[in-house]
Assembly symmetry: C2
Homo-oligomer: 248 residues x 2
DNA sequence: GGCACTCTTTGATTTGGGTCAAGGTTTTGC
DNA sequence: GCAAAACCTTGACCCAAATCAAAGAGTGCC
């Protein structure tokens, strides 16, 4: 498969990401006008909290640039990442008043937000917006369930290979690489964040990355810059049947 | 909390479960008429497959009675349950042609099905149906993410306690028990099914159940009939912050 | 009643990944 | 340019849960 195959939807959007991810294709001028009037941008620095679990969340948003994570924690501090938000991903729940998990910026982050109440009003008046959101939510649910398989049944090595495959697939910069099967990208996560996503410890993540490097499945320059010489070989380590869904 | 608190929505529905779970409150006569005309019932025996992952799925459905499970498997046979369907739960995805996982009956099962195409048509014409489905899907997503925390970060004992707490909460028969905090119910799953749900082996499940019994946190009569003398004590073993969401 | 089957329990042993500890490397801030 | 902090790697050791093995319990069928 070529890198182009991996990006059926352009990740760039001149105006606002929600246009193509959630609504644009079927929106008329009036609806776009409403969206314009209720939107605002917020930026966050790497490490900053966007919202705490349980806090009031009076907006929905999509990621313009940068990476955000959704995490849940037990009282004793064990934490599990339950979602990774890359540019163009949507977050927020019409009909929910409080955030169900922590959202934090792992890199510098720009979000395009819409005030929740008027967004909900628009959604109730505009069936195709609710339908598009339903589709997106079903996709997220599929991803979450794919992730349950990973957390419950994959080995540490398979977990790492799966994560690298997902990031490679979604990272826009892989497009720059022309050689068939070869992919180059930067890991957007620290070892600790990867561990939280994969249900491992950071030491195990580090060891598995070293092992994949030692065996030539990945090449590593610095701590974050990764080259995958043969994407199919990486997928093979991930333990999935063929390439699978693994959207976000 | 009293057993009644656990069942804010009546699990019984004279006509069809989807009425109260998905649409009924806001449906008019004409919409209910359409639903009537496209619905049919299917029953399955314990152990029977409802649908295989990847097969064409031309219906959506809700569970009338019995238990069904959603599972995903790796080629080498490792399997992970990704959802448990109890009476009144909905399954199926408008806009998706193929089933993304195996659905199977773990007990005798009755489902109320709606042919997909006309259901989708109705949904497109009827905004509140799409909106209700969106709400339900968001709830499912929250449950899936709660489960990710369990799979990634909880110990075997905490996993078992969490599962027992969920089943106790959802099982209708707990209503029959009056004593505050005391709950009696039947496990609807084999040890192996529990293991697949929890990302454990069946031996570990068995050992943990024995341990909980030995310590008086549960009482066990036969293999399936469980008494929880003190529900709060069970929750305490589950490791959650207070009682949490843990819907299904 | 007894055989066959499925489900469950329990024990012995192994092992993958966690924990603890030390040191290396990169980034940030002054 | 140096110190501190953050992040990462590697090693030694340990333990929770997996694996392997055997036997008990319940159920249905002839």
């Amino acid at each position: 498969m070529t890198p182009e195959d991996l990006h059926p939807v352009s990740p760039s959007c001149a105006d606002c990401p929600i246009r193509h991810r959630a609504v644009c294709a079927r929106c008329d001028e009036r609806e776009l006008g409403v969206l314009e009037s209720i939107k605002y941008y917020r930026s966050f620095e790497a490490g900053q909290m966007v919202i705490w679990s349980g806090d009031k969340m009076d907006f929905v948003a999509s990621v313009v640039s940068g990476i955000a994570t959704l995490t849940q924690t037990l009282e004793d501090g064990r934490t599990q990442m339950v979602g990774l938000l890359l540019p163009s991903d949507f977050v927020g729940r019409p009909g929910r008043e409080f955030a169900p998990y922590n959202i934090s910026a792992t890199t510098d982050l720009m979000m395009c937000c819409f005030r929740k109440k008027p967004f909900e009003d628009l959604m109730f008046r505009t069936p195709h917006i609710a339908q598009r959101l339903l589709e997106m939510t079903l996709d997220e649910l599929d991803s979450a369930r794919e992730w349950m398989l990973l957390l419950g049944r994959k080995t540490a090595r398979e977990k790492l290979a799966s994560l690298l495959a997902i990031v490679a697939r979604r990272d826009a910069s892989v497009k720059l690489c022309a050689t068939r099967g070869r992919m180059i990208f930067d890991l957007p996560l620290t070892r600790e964040a990867m561990a939280d996503y994969l249900g491992l410890t950071l030491e195990t993540v580090s060891r598995q990355i070293s092992a994949l490097k030692r065996e030539g499945i990945i090449e590593l320059e610095g701590k974050r810059h990764i080259t995958v010489p043969d994407f199919d070989r990486l997928l093979n380590e991930a333990g999935d049947d063929s390439d699978g869904g693994m959207l976000s």
